[in-house]
């Protein structure tokens, strides 16, 4: 290869790299995923504890309605508890994810809130907003069996949609969530375990893979 070719190759490589860097938010930290997974496991542990408390309720995966058409007291209490647990889990996971990503950027000396970060946030907020509406409806109307499949499928589709604005790897995390969500639809009795698998284990597995693949270099700096 002569000098002229070498130069052309370097320019092309740089063009590629700038196209990639400018259109994707590449500072998501692997720790963000690991943190989200741990949060999800703790939350499913809490829900599991409540379930074993209320074993009579477990057998009824759908709506718990009294003969007079009113929701039973147990169902009303569940709906309140689940709503609080859902909101707390989401907020804790999100804040942790933002913190670890911000920390990684600080180490690498890069800006966190770039145009690509904005696009990523918007592409996530739209399907997640719709998901919140569905899940709120299911909780308030005591359709508890649909909460697990809906949260997994919506979240999976969110990740697939967002994968064009960040590491393309999260597309596969999204696909796994959608598959687990669809399985959960058919076996509601396994709902809580599948939720823990999808939001807990999968996040930890992917977060670890992403950390080894992308973050390790930054930490060595």
């Amino acid at each position: 290869m002569n000098e002229r070719q070498q130069e052309s190759l370097e320019v092309l490589t740089e063009i590629r790299s700038i196209m990639h860097k400018s259109s994707r938010f590449l500072s998501l930290s692997g720790w963000s995923g690991i943190w989200a997974g741990i949060t999800a496991l703790v939350a499913s542990g809490v829900a599991y504890g409540w379930l074993t408390d209320q074993s009579a309720f477990v057998t009824n995966a759908g709506v718990d309605v009294m003969p007079n058409g009113q929701f039973s007291e147990a169902a009303a209490m569940w709906s309140e508890r689940l709503l609080i647990l859902a909101v707390v889990t989401f907020v804790v996971a999100l804040l942790g994810a933002l913190f670890f990503t911000w920390r990684k950027n600080k180490k690498a000396g890069e800006a966190t809130f770039t145009g690509a970060a904005r696009k990523l946030a918007v592409s996530m907020m739209i399907p997640m907003g719709a998901a919140a509406c569905f899940i709120l409806f299911f909780i308030l109307n005591h359709h508890f069996a649909y909460i697990v499949p809906a949260s997994l499928v919506f979240y999976g589709l969110t990740l697939i949609n967002s994968s064009k604005y960040t590491f393309s790897d999260i597309r596969y995390l999204g696909l796994s969530e959608v598959i687990i969500g669809c399985i959960a639809l058919f076996i509601p009795d396994m709902g809580l375990y599948l939720w823990a698998l999808g939001f807990g284990i999968m996040h930890i597995v992917y977060g670890t893979i992403m950390w080894f693949k992308y973050d390790r270099k930054v930490n060595r700096l």
Binding site: M1, N2, R4, Q5, S8, L9, V11, L12, E14, I15, R16, I18, M19, K21, S22, S23, E110, A111, T114, G115
Partner: protein
């Protein structure tokens, strides 16, 4: 070989200008500060290269405000896209022909 070299656009000789065009070809709009961070350039240096590209009508400039701060957005023109693509093609030919 001569032919390919002729197709290389002199305007894209600079690393910063190549970088600006690369970012604008994959994004609808990019603002000044993002370009600066992306290309690791100083204000003055970046501004002068942007000016050159604007004069050749390869990029469009739109001045706006976020609060009181100026926020200048840049986007690529059809002509700029055409010129940049043929520049990339010429670079590819140079590499392929002589292998």
């Amino acid at each position: 070989m001569r032919k390919e070299l002729d197709q290389l656009n002199k305007i894209f000789d600079s690393r910063i200008r190549i970088g600006i065009m690369s970012a604008l070809i994959v994004n609808e709009e990019v603002n000044f500060n993002e370009l600066k961070a992306l290309l690791d350039a100083t204000d003055g240096n970046l501004a002068s290269h942007l000016k050159t590209l604007e004069e050749h009508e390869f990029i469009r400039v739109e001045k706006g405000f976020i609060g009181r701060k100026t926020n200048t957005m840049y986007s690529i023109t059809a002509e700029g896209e055409k010129a940049f693509r043929s520049h990339i093609n010429a670079l590819e030919k140079i590499i392929k022909n002589l292998q």
